[in-house]
Structures are given as structure tokens and as C-alpha cells.
């Protein structure tokens, strides 16, 4: 080829034009807001020098709809492509706020759909870096059609490849639904927002003043709405967080998660400290994360949605290098009761793990469902059923360890043996019964208690007796509802062996299009 020839010169000119598009002023503006540019973000997200851009020269249509011209820029405000994250193929798109505020027009949308299609075809994770003012108004219905097309692909990919959305600026209106379909939503504190209707509309319709942050900031979505799973203080940490979570996920639903070598200073298989964490007093709270950290490989616990519905703890961990998903009641918060939010949080995570072949470990210490008018009226029955459904429907290996309380309906829900749990272990501190001792004796001995001279003392005594004779793990063990009561110190060893035994588990579920989970 003649490198001086017309063809090649033109090629070089186009390259130059693309480079010239780099607008230092726009970049500086983005920086001044504490944000990085789309390219900078991709460079942090991907292994060095591995990102390959696709469709760099695609440009928006020139047609003017009468509402102003669309800026003609190479790429149309979104970078799409593929690269490696810790050596593994990953597809991504990154919206570029410096081009028309990252607004989504038909070409912009088509590019995202293109990369979504590729990710699905190749069976590799899809990461979206979102920083967009929303639909490109100038393009009207074409941009809305674009959104719908993206949503459709999000849904088609759901459960096939892991999808992660990283909100790094505004995501408003229809744009929020793509992230909400994806598996994990990351947000950067203080510079990212998600809402269906913005503060201006809220002001107009309801006459309420609310700031961007209070309406849809990272704090709101990670604590109150549960929309965001992970929040980081800055963009670099956010992107590093994405790199980290991907190490726990398989590339697609046919693979297993990548394994990892154990380092030399690995977690001890027998850990006596585990005997000390759960207090004997059933009313004393403790932090179940202390238990988790001692069970999984050192420093391998990756908690998800840490700030939302904290009465249930979810996250990934590794045992003997292999990834597991953990669902644990948190006695420190709301006494570990299940409520609407925690059921939703748990159920979604269980579904994810099941879809991607990640075995489940359930750590149970649950006194029951949260009582109250508010909960009942808001549908704890339906929401609680999600968790139950998700467990019963999951075909991945599932192991329960009952740490302490396991009462009533909550016992059934938390992956009990008859819900298809593969192994149910219990610690000697476990109390398994239809209800707590105090409540049980109040019903069983109502008349006797009424007649008693000192009902309080009698109740205490009866409760102690009940605890001793009924609400212990040995009754359940003898009847086979618990496979084994185990020494807390040996739990890790037991779990590693149990997961090993379950590696080739497969279940025949009846043929069907899909079940009907109570949504």
C-alpha cells in the first residue's frame, strides 16, 4: 500500500480529525466539576492498553427536526468497545458528557445497542458508564425508541451475562431504567444522580423544594431506595470497585466464576474465634459480618448494598478460592428480622447467584418477620414471599448455617431443608422453634400463667425450660431437619467440604416458560 497515496492520506486525515475533536476546554470543565472524561474512565476501568474502540466515527443524522441542530461529532457522545478487565474480555460503553451533555439520540442509542448485542453474543460482561442529560429532545421519538431498544437488550441479557451500570453523572427520566434492570448499580457520591422526574418537575407538580442530592443522590439510592448497590467517594474508587466485583462473576451463565489461588497467610480452617462471636444471651446483638469474615478466605468478602436494608447482609466471598454468595441475617439491625426491604434485597441477590451458578451460603439468625401495621399494609406477605420463592427456585448449591434464632415462618424462608436446602447446619447456640420461648409459653400456658401468683417468674422458668427442651438444635437434628450440629470453630472446614460435595449438583425442575415470582 502506498502510504503517501490518497487512500491512506485520507485515513490519516480522519484519524487527525478524530483527534482534533478532543476539546481541552470541555475536558477542563468536566474536571472542574470533580468528574473525569469518558476516556479517562475507560482507562481506569480496563487493564492498561487493552481497550479497543468500536464505531469511533459514527455521527448523528444531519436532519434538523426544527428543534435545533444536532451536534455533529464523531462517536455521537458515547464511546463503545471492548477490552480486558483483569485479563477477561469485557464490553463497555461510556457516555461522554462533553458532547451534547451525553444526551441519547438515535445514533448514540444504536451504538449502545450494538455493543450490548456483541456482549451477549460473546458471552462477556457488559459495563455501562452513564453520564447523560437524558433523551436528546431534538430527536424526539427516535431517542425514546433508542431507550426502549437498550432496555430490551438489557432484559435479553439478564441472567445470561453480568451487566453493571455505573452512574457517574446524571441519569434522568427513562435513562434510569436501564441501570435498574442491570445486575449491579454503582454510583459516585455527590456527583451522580438518578431520578425519574427531576427537582424542577417535583417543584412544579407538588410545590416541594428538593435538591438534586436529596432527590436522587448516591446517599438516597444506597440507603433509602436500594436502587444503588455500591457507592464510592470518587470516580477512581468507583471504577476500581467495578473491577473488583467482576473478579467474582463468571463471564456468562454457562461458566463458573473465576477461581483464585489462596495466599500463604490464608484463613485458618479451624477458627476458635468463631466460638466467641455469638453471645449466649439471645437478646444480645452481634455483627454477623464478623462471622462472615472469619468463614471466607481472608479479605475476600465483598459486601453488596451495605447501607440498604441492613438487617440482611449480602455479598460475595471466596471459600478455598471458589466464589460463593452469602445471605445473612444481621442481628445488629432490627434484631435481624426480615422486613419488606430486606426481603427484596435478599431475593434479588439470590436470583442473581442462581442465574450465574454461584453457590449460596445462608447464615441464619432470624427472630421472625418484622411486625407492624406499616409492614402488613405495605405487603410484607408478598415481598417476603419473594425471598422464599428465590430460595426454593434456586438450583445452585445452597447451604444454611443456623447461628442462633430460627423461628416460625422466617425459619422456613431462610433456605430450610424442605425448601430444598442442600445442607442445613446449626451451631450449638441455635434455637429452632415455631416461635420464641417467651411467646410460646405465653400461649401454651396461658391459663396456668393467669392463675399463677408470680406470672413473671413462672413465665421465665417455663421459657427457660422451653428453650432447653424444645428450642434447641438437637431436636431438629434428631428429626433430620438439621443435617448436623457443628462446632462453630470448624464451620469453615465443614462448609468447604459441603460445597465440594455439591459441585456437581443438578436439579430437574419441571419444564416451563418461567415461574411466576410474586413481584
Amino acid at each position: 500500500m502506498d502510504v503517501k497515496g490518497k487512500n491512506f492520506t485520507r485515513f490519516l486525515e480522519r484519524q487527525q480529525a478524530h483527534n482534533d475533536q478532543h476539546d481541552a476546554r470541555a475536558e477542563a470543565k468536566q474536571h472542574s466539576k470533580g468528574k473525569l472524561t469518558a476516556w479517562e474512565r475507560l482507562n481506569i476501568l480496563f487493564d492498561e492498553d487493552t481497550f479497543e474502540e468500536v464505531d469511533a466515527f459514527v455521527t448523528a443524522d444531519k436532519t434538523d427536526t426544527g428543534f435545533g441542530k444536532v451536534q455533529q461529532a464523531f462517536g455521537d457522545g458515547v464511546i463503545i468497545g471492548h477490552g480486558l478487565i483483569r485479563g477477561r474480555l469485557t464490553f463497555a460503553y461510556a457516555q461522554d458528557f462533553t458532547v451534547m451533555g451525553g444526551s441519547l439520540g438515535s445514533v448514540h442509542a444504536a451504538k449502545i445497542m450494538k455493543i450490548q448485542d456483541m456482549a451477549l453474543k460473546m458471552g462477556a460482561p457488559m459495563v455501562g458508564l452513564i453520564d447523560s442529560g437524558g433523551a436528546r429532545i431534538q430527536e424526539g421519538v427516535a431517542s425514546l425508541a433508542g431507550y426502549a431498544g437498550i432496555f430490551y437488550r438489557n432484559v435479553q441479557s439478564s441472567g445470561v451475562i453480568p451487566q453493571i451500570s455505573v452512574i457517574m453523572g446524571p441519569a434522568a427520566g427513562g435513562a434510569v431504567y436501564s441501570p435498574s434492570i442491570t445486575d449491579f448499580v454503582f454510583m459516585t457520591d455527590q456527583t451522580s444522580y438518578m431520578f425519574v422526574t427531576g427537582p424542577n418537575v417535583v417543584k412544579e407538580v407538588l410545590n416541594e423544594d428538593v435538591s438534586l442530592n436529596d432527590l436522587g443522590g448516591a446517599g438516597v439510592h444506597s440507603k433509602k431506595s436500594g436502587v444503588a448497590h455500591m457507592v464510592f467517594p470518587d470516580e477512581e474508587n468507583t471504577l476500581m470497585g467495578v473491577r473488583q466485583i467482576l473478579a467474582y462473576l463468571p463471564s456468562n451463565n454457562m461458566e463458573n466464576s473465576p477461581e483464585m489461588d489462596l495466599s500463604a497467610d490464608e484463613t485458618a480452617d479451624v477458627e476458635e474465634r468463631l466460638r466467641e462471636i455469638v453471645p449466649d444471651d439471645p437478646n444480645k446483638p452481634y455483627d454477623v459480618k464478623d462471622v462472615i469474615r472469619l468463614l471466607v478466605d481472608k479479605r475476600s468478602f465483598y459486601e453488596i448494598a451495605e447501607n440498604y436494608a441492613q438487617n440482611v447482609v449480602i455479598g460475595f466471598g471466596r471459600m478455598d478460592g471458589k466464589v460463593i454468595g452469602i445471605v445473612a441475617n444481621q442481628p445488629k439491625v432490627l434484631a435481624g428480622t426480615l422486613d419488606i426491604n430486606s426481603s427484596n434485597k435478599g431475593a434479588r441477590f439470590i436470583r442473581f447467584c442462581d442465574a450465574f451458578n454461584i453457590p449460596l451460603l445462608i447464615l441464619e439468625d432470624v427472630p421472625g418477620f418484622l411486625p407492624g401495621v406499616d409492614q402488613e399494609h405495605s405487603g410484607i406477605i408478598r415481598h417476603g414471599a419473594k425471598m422464599l420463592y428465590a430460595f426454593a427456585d434456586a438450583t445452585v448449591p445452597r447451604i444454611t448455617v443456623i447461628l442462633r434464632k430460627s423461628y416460625g415462618g422466617a425459619y422456613c424462608v431462610m433456605n430450610s431443608k424442605n425448601l430444598g436446602g442442600d445442607f442445613n447446619f446449626a451451631w450449638p447456640t441455635a434455637e429452632i422453634a415455631v416461635m420464641g420461648p417467651e411467646g410460646a409459653v405465653a400461649i401454651l400456658f396461658r391459663k396456668e400463667l393467669e392463675a399463677s401468683e408470680d406470672p413473671a417468674a413462672m413465665k421465665k422458668e417455663l421459657a427457660a425450660k422451653y428453650r432447653n427442651e424444645i428450642a434447641n438444635p438437637y431436636v431438629a437434628e434428631e428429626r433430620g431437619f438439621i443435617d448436623e450440629v457443628i462446632d462453630p470453630a470448624e464451620t469453615r472446614l465443614k462448609l468447604i467440604r459441603a460445597f465440594e460435595a455439591l459441585e456437581t449438583k443438578h436439579v430437574d425442575n419441571p419444564a416451563r416458560k418461567h415461574g411466576n415470582i410474586p413481584l
Binding site: R86, G87, R88, M254, E255, P258, E259, D280, H506, R512
Partner: protein, 500 residues
């Protein structure tokens, strides 16, 4: 009567400390296990464990449950009970119950405990025996009006103290007459709450006194000696933070004078066993009797270090009815000892308690260093008991040498887990007035403004360590290879079922 078995009605370091002596003397030791710390170290050190953890009464804490302890002692047929300090150590009812049940109480008679425990009676005794006292109310103050009258007589400032108190609770200093009413009600309320007894008495408040106490040993045959003094002026809100023996404030003449006063007080109640007589020493070297503690003190090791006498052993021998093996002239004070109390407290925010697990603890082993502690790796600091983790006692030929050794020992005393007062100890050692021996009870409030010691490069090294750990973790995450191939080679058995 020879004691063959001993129940220690206490926990933590003092239980272990007592066991050390019982082991030496061939006495079988019994301790009480509670649900609050079922894995505590002292349980392992003892020969026998009496389990109180199964059934616990929320109303009466285990170590205060007189009848349960007595019942257990009888059931296990123990000869004697050592109460340690705190809990039931100065409870005359407990001592009497022991006497009634023919269990030897390692301590003074219940009568001595009662009389010395009741501050107004104790003061009356001191007055009768010509021991100097601070001016104040002869007994409990009836009401605020009476308090005002007495205060006007002795002059402000005055201090209101709970008659049944100790340890700083129920104490209120009144600077001006207009405050007396409010302070009186505060003090009585606090006393009622803390000690179940609202009685308070009033005395002149010495603004910047030294707190000096004398260790007493007496046998049941009327012999009483003192083992020198302990300097306890470094306090925070009446809580001692470090003690030393001897005191840099006393010369031999003063020591003799105060020691004799202490012995006289003890003799006034026919005191036997170990006890401590507390004095306030004013700037003009006048001293006044404060109170007598009828138990072994937390800070007893400094006395043991300088006299070479095992106080717990002596208490047991005295309880057996033995005569003191030495007289006053045999007691020699050898060198200097300082005890540093290492508490789980956050000195950076007003000594607030710092709970949690002691992940690791280590200290320098050396001839002139003694560490009394009830914790080890993995021990949990619970909110149920005091915050003391350990006592570091350092001995030197002179005060200067003891401080020098302390400096080294504190630097080598490492605790991973809760915040501790070690940083405070270093700050004290850096203070020139402390080094000169020139301090009093206002040391913390006036002299040592910053309660922890920072080396100039502390923050820099901490900053470096933070960035290092951050970078290391990212690096470690990035470097660990991910084995994706394993994830792809799945047996057809499983793979076939992956799709429904």
C-alpha cells in the same frame, strides 16, 4: 487453721494475681464463671470453676450475689473466700455472712469494714485518736441549710462526699455559697443512685493536694506495721492513673509521722489483714486523714516491688491466725516502683471507654518489669466491668531509673485492638514537672493539657502506612491471578442442566 482451698469472689487480673499466690502456697483455688465473659483467662488459671453462667439474675450481678457465693462456697466446702477489690471486698454484710458460715474471710473483721466504710464513723475514730482531719461536718449533712452553715464555718471551697462512697462518685466540689444548694442535691442524688445511701458529708476542700496512702498490715494478735506509702496523685476525676512507691514528696521524718498515724487508725478498729490509709498532703506538708480502704488495692504491686513482701500471702497467713513474721524495723523500702494503669480508654476523646477485642497484646519481659493482667490475645473488653486491661509495674534503683525503665517498657508494651491509655503514660513521662516529682492531684487538669503523647513523625508514618496499605491492597487484588479456565471446563453432567 490452715487454709487448703480458697474461693476468689472476683475476676480479671486480681483473680489471676491471687491464684499466683495460692499456687505458691499449695492452696486449691476456685473461681466463678459468669455468662458475661465465659472464656476469660482467669478461669483457666484456677484449679476449679464454679459456674454461675447457666442461671443469671439480671437484678444482682454475679460477683455481688452474697447468698449465691456463700452457698457455692459451702457446697464446694472451701475454707476461705478472697474478695479481691471492688465488688464485695468492703461489704461488711458479706464478711459477716462468711463468719457466720464458718468460712474464713480473707480480710479484716466485718466490724472494721463497717466502721471504716462509714466515713462519718471513721472520722470520729480518727478524731478520738488525734489524727489530723480536714474541717467539716461531724457526720452526714442533714440538708442544704446545714451544709451552708458548716461550709461558711470551714470556708470555701468545700467538698461534698457520699458517706458510703469511693472512686469519685457522689463527690461535688462547691466553690461558692450560691452553688451549695444545687450541689447538695446533685451529690445526694448521685450517692443514692450509686451506693443506695444518700448520706453525704462535707469537708474543707484542699485545692491542690497530693494523694498519699499508706499500706498497712496487721495480724489478729494486735501487731500492725506499715509498708511505706504510695503516691497516687495522678488522677483523673478521682480515678487513679498511676501510682508510685515511695512518694517523691515524703522524707523519712514525714514518712514516720504519717506511718504512725496510719497505724494508729488501724489499731483503733483492731484492724487485721491488709489495708490502706489515705491522706491528703497539703502544700505546707500538713496532712489529713481521708479514709481507710479495708481491702487489697489495685496498686498493691508497687508496695510489693519495693518491700519484697507478697501482700496476698500475708493476707492469707493473717486470716489463718498467724503472727506477722516481721516488725516495723524489718521493713525496708528498696528502690522505686511505678505502676502504670493501662485502661481501654480513648485518651483522644476524654478517656471515654473503648470496647472491643484485644487482638494481640505483648509486653517486655524483664526482671524489673511486672505485668498484672487478666487479658490475653482474643480477650473481649466488655461494658460490664471496669476498663483496666493491665497494670505495668516497673522497678528501678531510683525514681529516675524507674522512669527511664518505664519509658522503655511502655514503648514495648503493644496492644492491638481497643484504644488504651499507653499514649497517656508516655505523655506523663515526657512532662518535666512529673519527672521532677513536682505534681499533685491537679496534674491532669492544670499541668498535662494534652493527654497523649505524639512523636513528631507519628502522623507522617501513619499517613504513609495508610497509603501503603491502600496501594498494597489494590496491588494484591490486581496481581492475584484469576483462573477462568477452571470455570469453563464444567462437566457435561452439570452443564447440560444449566439451561431449563
Amino acid at each position: 487453721m490452715k487454709i487448703k482451698s480458697l474461693l476468689i469472689a472476683n475476676r480479671g487480673e486480681i483473680a489471676i494475681r491471687i491464684i499466683k499466690t495460692t499456687r505458691k502456697m499449695g492452696i486449691r483455688s476456685y473461681v466463678i464463671k459468669t455468662a458475661k465473659e465465659p472464656n476469660a483467662w482467669y478461669l483457666e488459671e484456677a484449679d476449679e470453676i464454679i459456674d454461675f453462667s447457666e442461671k443469671y439474675d439480671e437484678e444482682i450481678p454475679e460477683f455481688l450475689d452474697i447468698e449465691r457465693i456463700i452457698k457455692s462456697a459451702k457446697k464446694h466446702k472451701v475454707d476461705a473466700i478472697h474478695p479481691g477489690y471492688g465488688f464485695l471486698a468492703e461489704n461488711p454484710v458479706f464478711a459477716r455472712r462468711c463468719e457466720e458460715e464458718k468460712i474464713t474471710f480473707i480480710g479484716p473483721s466485718h466490724d472494721a469494714i463497717y466502721r471504716m466504710g462509714h466515713k462519718t464513723i471513721a472520722k470520729e475514730l480518727a478524731r478520738e485518736h488525734g489524727i489530723p482531719l480536714l474541717g467539716g461536718s461531724p457526720g452526714a449533712v442533714r440538708d442544704a441549710d446545714e451544709a451552708r452553715k458548716i461550709a461558711n464555718k470551714v470556708g470555701y471551697p468545700v467538698i461534698l462526699k457520699a458517706a458510703a462512697g469511693g472512686g469519685g462518685r457522689g463527690m461535688r466540689v462547691v466553690e461558692k455559697e450560691k452553688d451549695i444548694e444545687r450541689m447538695f442535691s446533685l451529690a445526694t442524688n448521685e450517692a443514692a443512685k450509686a451506693f443506695n445511701n444518700p448520706d453525704v458529708f462535707l469537708e474543707r476542700f484542699v485545692r491542690e493536694p497530693r494523694h498519699i496512702e499508706f499500706q498497712i498490715l496487721g495480724d489478729q494478735h494486735g501487731n500492725v506495721v506499715h509498708l511505706g506509702e504510695r503516691e497516687c496523685s495522678v488522677q483523673r476525676k478521682h480515678q487513679k492513673l498511676l501510682e508510685e512507691s515511695p512518694s517523691p514528696a515524703l522524707d523519712n521524718a514525714m514518712r514516720k509521722k504519717m506511718g504512725e498515724a496510719a497505724i494508729n487508725i488501724a489499731k483503733s478498729v483492731n484492724y487485721y489483714s491488709a489495708g490502706t490509709v489515705e491522706f491528703l498532703l497539703d502544700v505546707d506538708n500538713s496532712f489529713s486523714f481521708m479514709e481507710m480502704n479495708t481491702r487489697i488495692q489495685v496498686e498493691h504491686p508497687v508496695t510489693e516491688m519495693v518491700t519484697g513482701i507478697d501482700l496476698i500471702e500475708q493476707m492469707i497467713l493473717i486470716a489463718e491466725g498467724k503472727k506477722l513474721p516481721f516488725s516495723q524495723k524489718d521493713i525496708k523500702i528498696n528502690g522505686w516502683a511505678i505502676e502504670w494503669r493501662i485502661n481501654a480508654e480513648d485518651v483522644q476523646s476524654g478517656f471515654s471507654p473503648s470496647l472491643g477485642t484485644i487482638e494481640k497484646i505483648s509486653w517486655p519481659e524483664s526482671e524489673n518489669v511486672r505485668v498484672d493482667t487478666g487479658v490475653r490475645d482474643g480477650s473481649v473488653i466488655t461494658p460490664y466491668y471496669d476498663s483496666m486491661i493491665a497494670k505495668l509495674i516497673v522497678h528501678g534503683e531510683t525514681r529516675e531509673k524507674a522512669m527511664q525503665q518505664s519509658s522503655i517498657a511502655i514503648r514495648k508494651f503493644w496492644i492491638k485492638g481497643p484504644k488504651t491509655t499507653l499514649a497517656f503514660c508516655r505523655a506523663v513521662l515526657q512532662n518535666s514537672n512529673f519527672r521532677k516529682g513536682n505534681f499533685n492531684t491537679s496534674f491532669l487538669s492544670k499541668e498535662l493539657k494534652i493527654h497523649y503523647q505524639n512523636e513528631p513523625d507519628d502522623a507522617l508514618l501513619a499517613a504513609f502506612f495508610a497509603t501503603y496499605d491502600y496501594a498494597r491492597e489494590i496491588n494484591e487484588n490486581e496481581e492475584k491471578p484469576l483462573h477462568t479456565e477452571n470455570g469453563k471446563s464444567i462437566t457435561p453432567w452439570v452443564l447440560k442442566k444449566r439451561l431449563r
